[in-house]
């Protein structure tokens, strides 16, 4: 299998890439790790006539930097680099944990954080972590850069807040409050390895064992990754216990119509959402303190 014919561009700066995007409009696609785009092109589900390969932008968009209040991560950072980063394992372990759940070693060697987030696959793992970590996404367009809160970024099936002609260049992730615990719990599709359901949780306890703050996000369940705010509200200010976590997790799919496919119908997916949110909460709490 091979893709439809296209013209190939390998710009050496973000500005050149933006100019190419502007010139070719809807006919063009950015190529990052290629591990969502190329399979879709081989299946002829996607047929761009211009490919803008960002490989020469790796020099400027592949980094994980400690900037004090934030960790800044370049869009072209691979899943493998996230998984293996000592900085992330120390400061944002759930991001490393989530990246390590993606596909297999070969996929993680090429797939990128920016590609995964921009692609917004409803079964992709990283969108859940990015939401639970309350990341800020930095997009660059011909008019300059703008920031988008993770909570406003994912718009459902492969849809995001990115405008045509914009490139996602960086994710800025606030450092977790001291004592926070976090976890990503994934139900792997037995064949594809994608998330049938994935739950990311970040919990911060206060000194007396109450939940001071908490963020929970799910992927795989709905048309796009989402924050389970009803779960969060059921926890905040209360003393954490297994019963409380279980009761809060019951709200994992409130207001959501779970996806259905041949593998998991809506009832089953809704059930998985609750089960995996509960696991994520318990694990995150165990790791807190």
């Amino acid at each position: 299998m091979y893709p439809e014919a296209f013209s190939y561009h390998a710009p050496s700066t973000v500005e050149e890439a933006l100019a190419l995007l502007e010139r070719h409009g809807d006919d063009a696609k950015l190529l990052a790790g290629g591990h969502s785009l190329l399979p879709a092109m081989k299946l002829r589900l996607s047929g761009p006539t211009h490919i803008i390969d960002m490989k020469h932008l790796r020099g400027s968009l592949d980094y994980i930097r400690d900037e004090g209040d934030d960790v800044a991560i370049g869009a072209l950072t691979t899943h493998r680099s996230l998984e293996r980063s000592e900085l992330l394992r120390g400061k944002l372990p759930v991001l490393a944990e989530t990246a390590g759940c993606i596909g297999d070693m070969q996929v993680r060697n090429l797939g990128t954080l920016g590609g995964s987030v921009a692609h917004a696959d409803p079964a992709g793992d990283l969108p859940a972590a990015v939401l639970a970590l309350d990341a800020v996404l930095v997009a660059q367009g011909s008019g300059g850069t703008r920031t988008i809160a993770a909570g406003e970024f994912f718009h459902g099936f492969f849809e995001t807040a990115l405008e045509a002609g914009e490139i996602l260049i960086e994710l800025r992730i606030p450092t977790l409050a001291a004592g926070s615990g976090s976890s990503y719990q994934k139900f792997f599709h037995p064949a594809s390895g994608y998330a049938v359901c994935g739950a990311a949780a970040v919990i911060t306890p206060d000194a007396s064992g109450n939940v001071a703050s908490c963020r929970v996000a799910l992927t795989g369940v709905s048309e796009g990754a989402y924050r389970a705010t009803a779960v969060e509200e059921a926890l905040v200010g209360k003393p954490f216990s297994e019963e409380l976590a279980a009761a809060a997790a019951e709200h994992a799919a409130d207001g959501i119509e779970p996806l259905e496919d041949y593998f998991a119908d809506a009832t089953y997916r809704g059930h998985l959402a609750k089960t995996f949110v509960k696991r994520a909460l318990l694990t995150a709490w165990e790791r807190s303190g």
Binding site: M1, Y2, K42, D53, R80, D104, M105, V107, N109
Partner: protein, 158 residues
């Protein structure tokens, strides 16, 4: 039709060709360079039989464009040993780590990277590391055994 000149260093030798942008690395290796050791199994990025090393990383060459590899170094199964079998190849031979042999080049390319990163893996770590490589014959038992044996050899054991 656009054709792009590329130069890829494959198994230590520079290879220059003009290619269509849509040409996949695996087809470049097999068809343009005649290196048919790298296999095409599923063609949907799942099975790993097309695994090669690209700038030192194990990648699925069915999911990389040849133009993306322009200026890069690629190692295929043909380039792994230096005229003799690489210790990993020998270990697969000795431990009967194959039946039909179709997945073997990809398994070996992945396994060598696995050991580079983790010279003393547990069986579970070996199985995890092979997540991206499917075998339809062996049930993986002897593949895991072969990789364990190669790890022992590399660490200077018997």
């Amino acid at each position: 039709m656009q054709k792009i000149p590329i130069t890829v260093e494959v198994n230590g030798r520079k290879a220059s060709r003009e290619v269509e942008p849509r040409l996949l690395l695996v087809h470049f290796l097999r068809e343009a360079l005649g290196l048919t050791g790298t296999k095409i199994g599923c063609d949907t990025s799942q099975c790993g039989s097309c695994t090669v090393h690209l700038d030192g990383m194990a990648v699925k060459s069915c999911t990389v464009l040849a133009v993306q590899a322009n200026g890069s170094q690629v190692t295929t199964i043909e380039g792994l040993g230096n005229g003799e079998l690489h210790p990993m190849q020998q270990a697969f031979w000795d431990n009967h780590g194959l039946q039909c042999g179709y997945c073997t080049p990809g398994m070996i390319m992945t396994a060598t990277k696995l050991l580079e990163e983790n010279p003393n893996p547990s069986d579970e770590e070996i199985r995890d590391g092979l997540e991206g490589n499917l075998c339809r014959c062996t049930g993986y038992e002897n593949i895991v055994k072969a990789i364990r044996a190669a790890a022992e050899t590399a660490r200077g054991g018997s």
